[in-house]
Symmetry: C2
Subunit: 141 residues, 2 copies
DNA sequence: CTGCATGCAAAAACTTTGCACCGCC
DNA sequence: GGCGGTGCAAAGTTTTTGCATGCAG
């Protein structure tokens, strides 16, 4: 485990991530941090994100087309990415670790864990689509 | 849907992916393709991989530290990444789409599907570790 | 012929790294 | 003061894109 000295920048990055409900990318974090530390560099942001991830204090999320995203919430939860707006939201569901056992039935190695990425439509986009649908309907009548 | 004209390069890329059991990255595919088409460019490889993915004929896999990987097998199956050697292997298991419903119970949007990434130890590494373990044991006696 | 696909190279996007200086312990 | 952290900038990696040419329909 890496030894760490206290740093106000790292502290602030972690705090920022814990207060955010979405899961910002390194660049978004950088833009925000500049408001607090006008001279902070992108390198520092990346270095601290990597360090915090290594220490298990935040988690790194990997999605398709975009850059990496970071989550200050390390409790057990899943994520769902919206195919309309691309936002990544938390999704809590009961523990389904039994699928590790299920998965191991046809696998000759050792299944230790899993990550699930759900995809679909977020609350906002669902409402927007509904709205749009109603307008279309009233038009066609 | 994009209209496509036949292309020997695209054909070859798809065939190559279908015969591979692992899930090569764009660069690996490029290196291989150069044996068949010495003048093929990396740009063409990327363009065709994107096109084939869009057409649903192959699938793109996203993992943590590395570049994107591609899978010529689009049947329903999952993947497991080995934490020892980093290899990505197929993993077949019974359908568990019911977790979409489960997930939707606490989510205000629409859950449409999911991807699962398992992680653990692959067959080879498991055997190697066992071997190593036995040697250690016999040494300590 | 027409226009999508290709090869090539340049550029874009994202992330890492070397180095001198700064500030925590 | 010693050493890890920072800012800055340059470089590395992976992927995308513009353009002239080539090839499929």
């Amino acid at each position: 485990m890496k030894i760490t000295k206290h740093s106000r920048q790292r502290e602030a990055i972690k705090e920022f991530l814990m207060t955010r409900k979405d899961h910002p990318s390194a660049d978004t974090i950088y833009i925000y941090m500049r408001e607090v530390f006008p001279n902070i560099s992108l390198g520092t942001v990346y270095r601290n994100l990597a360090l915090l991830t290594e220490l298990g204090e935040i988690q790194k999320l990997h999605y398709g087309t975009e850059s990496d995203h970071f989550d200050g919430d390390i409790s057990l939860h899943h994520h769902i990415i919206c195919r309309e707006c691309g936002s990544i939201n938390d999704l809590k569901m009961e523990n389904i670790d039994f699928i590790n056992t299920l998965a191991n039935q046809n696998f000759d190695g050792i299944v230790e864990g899993h990550n699930i990425h759900f995809y679909g439509i977020c609350k906002n986009c669902k409402n927007n689509l509904k709205l749009k649908n109603n307008i279309d309907k009233s038009k066609s009548v």
